[in-house]
């Protein structure tokens, strides 16, 4: 068994494919490239591969990871080239590394993610103004937002303050650029959607969600 992880981007229109679709895309790419993945045992065997952290539909990213296992050992550089050759526009493979010796998967070691959120404000903002806004936002003792519960479908108020590790606002013309380091992974996770809602409420702007862009720039691992 050999374990590898590739780092890749998801840019342009391909950001509108779901993470399950992306998994299928990689599965077919491996097949085309002739890379034999290891399969799980059991009634319904599936290839051993998975993302470090799924990316929401519509988000762009320059720092995604896919881990996988192969039956035979490959040279990571060769793997990178083989996989790169199969990728559609919008997916760049940055690197491929052997994960041999790592007991825990990237998915289980992920604890934080960095995002850049672009929010149209409808007017020019000053540098100092946005810095003050950011400080004031973070100075809140609790930041309550409504979150839809997955199972019941009901909405519940949750406090997201503790899940924001760091935050920075930057004025870019009529847009507010928000850089946020947020909890990510199975222990504690904050969806940028909740942060967007909280900031919009705080700023008192009514937001057209379809005009907000989100890019994941980095995942952090233990």
């Amino acid at each position: 068994m050999s374990q590898y992880a590739i780092k890749f981007s998801k840019e342009g229109y391909i950001c509108y494919t779901s993470h399950l679709d992306l998994l299928r895309l990689f599965k077919r790419a491996f097949k085309k490239a002739g890379i034999r993945l290891s399969y799980s045992q059991g009634f319904n065997p599936h290839p051993k591969m998975g993302f470090a952290q799924p990316l929401s539909l519509g988000y762009v990213s320059v720092g995604e990871y896919l881990e996988f296992e192969t039956d035979k050992a490959y040279d990571p550089g060769e793997l990178k080239d083989l996989i790169s050759a199969q990728m559609p526009e919008g997916i760049r493979i940055f690197s491929c590394e052997s994960m041999g010796g790592q007991k825990r998967s990237l998915a289980s070691r992920n604890h934080a993610a960095e995002y850049i959120i672009g929010m149209p404000m409808g007017r020019e903002l000053g540098r100092e103004e946005v810095e003050t806004l950011c400080c004031d936002f973070l100075a809140q003792e609790s930041i309550l937002v409504l979150k839809k519960q997955k199972k019941s479908g009901k909405t519940k108020e949750v406090d997201i303050r503790g899940k924001i590790q760091s935050l920075n606002f930057l004025a870019a013309g009529e847009n507010l650029l928000i850089t946020g380091l947020l909890d990510s992974g199975s222990q504690s996770n904050l969806s940028p959607e909740l942060l967007i809602a909280a900031i919009a409420t705080f700023l008192g702007v009514s937001l057209d969600r379809s005009e907000v862009g989100v890019m994941r720039t980095k995942l952090f691992f233990e």
Binding site: Y13, Y16, T17, S18, K31, Q86, R209
Partner: protein, 609 residues
Amino acid sequence: MEISRELDKLLKQVEKPARYIGGEVNAVHKEQARLRFGFAFPDTYEIGMSYMGLQLLYHILNQQEDIFCERVFAPAMDMEALMRKEGMELFTLETKTPVKELDLLGFTLQYELSFTNVINMLDLGSIPVFSDQRGEEDPVILAGGPCAYNPEPLADIIDVFLIGDGEELLPEVVKRRRKDQTKEAYLKEICTIPGVYVPRFYQPCYQEDGTIAEIQKVWAGAPDRVERALIKDLDAADFPVDLIVPFIEVVHDRAVVETFRGCTRGCRFCQAGMIYRPVRERKPETIRKIAEQQLAKTGHEELSLLSLSTSDHSQFEELALDLMSMCKEKNVSLSLPSLRLDSFSFRVLEEIQGYKKSGLTFAPEAGSQRLRDVINKGITEDDIYSAVRQALELGWNHVKLYFMVGLPGETFEDLDGIAKIAKTIKEINYEVKGRKGGRFNVTVSVSNFVPKAHTPFQWQAQDSAESFMKKHDYLTNQLSVKGITFNYHDTGTSELEAVFARGDRRVGKVLVRAFELGCKFDGWSEHFNGKLWAQAFADTGVDPDFYTVRQRSYDEILPWDFIDPFVTKDFLIRENEKALKGDITQDCRIQCAGCGMSRKADCLPEGEK
């Protein structure tokens, strides 16, 4: 409007945005080409991308250096609403070009109930719907596919219909287009190519009773009859190996090879069985080669075969065994649709399905031997029962049965036969597995007979809505039995299908009116709106009964008579007469039925099977 800039905003608001992005593996991009063609499928992406003909013609057109073929689909309701709100026009998937900027736009007509989508797509593309309202700057609008065999309902909308096999015809027609030539000149030039029908060069005149008096030619240079285009050697014909691989799951997500075209069985209701004659096969080695290349170029994990009846390939056993071993080696699953259930098929199914036993499907189509003889469906109850017994012994526990109601000369005894077959299958299950035989289900699916053009039943009346409903009720009663699931097709859509399947040029205005009233995606039960359609008929003064429940006489001029499918009218009349007497016609591999096809092409020699 710059579509690509605005599109992002829309994609964030719709379901399955990947339907609209293009850029899939094996999608084609060309920097420059003399002619830009849009292949339009009048339904959603998932349905259109499952259609082999799209992949085939896309591949063939894009092989031509001077043609760039892109894809266009009907946006789903949510996307269309946003596009209309934002003023975004229908665009191509590959380059997000508004369709009205293309040189030619070709629709594939796979089912009548997609006709309103054709109109809606033109409208969404800001292209005038009626051909006489379009100018020189608008694209030439083409249409092909099985529904083009009765093109008249769309005759005022489409500029050029292509009848028959498209592999050679479509590129030929597209290549002839020159930008320095008027549309009129172009249409006059291509209308003599076999397979091309230019409706504006013909004008039907009607008698007082509403039937056609004659079809006058408006331009003397147009041919009297339009012969279908025919690929004689399918084995030598191009077939795509670089299939576009959708990002999202579509209906059929797999590699697929067409093994043969045509069918020899001669079921009298079946349009495909008539218009795709004769049987033309690909050789097993050609099929295997295509399959291997497809799998290599797509990474697909499933391979399927395409034809009207998989087991009827003359070298099917050899082919199946070969593909089975190839798929096993490549870790690809093999799917063999519409197998005839003989002992060989069971051996194959055992091998390829393993423990995953899906339902077993039979299409007896009619409930009694008498009625099956009328429609020339050569399957007996003994065939079904012995196959079911074998299947049960091998561990299947679900049987699906397909029937039609409203077949010519049908009586309630024939309907009793449907119930009898379902119940007998249940009994066989008890015999095989004992009274407590575990989970077992029989599903009976009933559709409503729609007489189609170019079939022996093209003169027959369709059942009335009342009669259909009475029959559905009757069967519901008969089949309210534990272990039997009964479902039937909606009557309203079957009537509508019948109007357009045999409609003349006058029903076109009903389509346009229905579109104005908001009808689209009529084949989707959740979108079909019978009330709006009733209003569309009323508003245009068209009586649907004239097209549905009216029996035609042999000497009536039918709207599609000018199209020559190479199967003669004499043959169709003979078959209809035999049907009335309950006489069967042999599979034409055993004995030539004299349909007229052999004048035009080599049918497979007698006794080859």
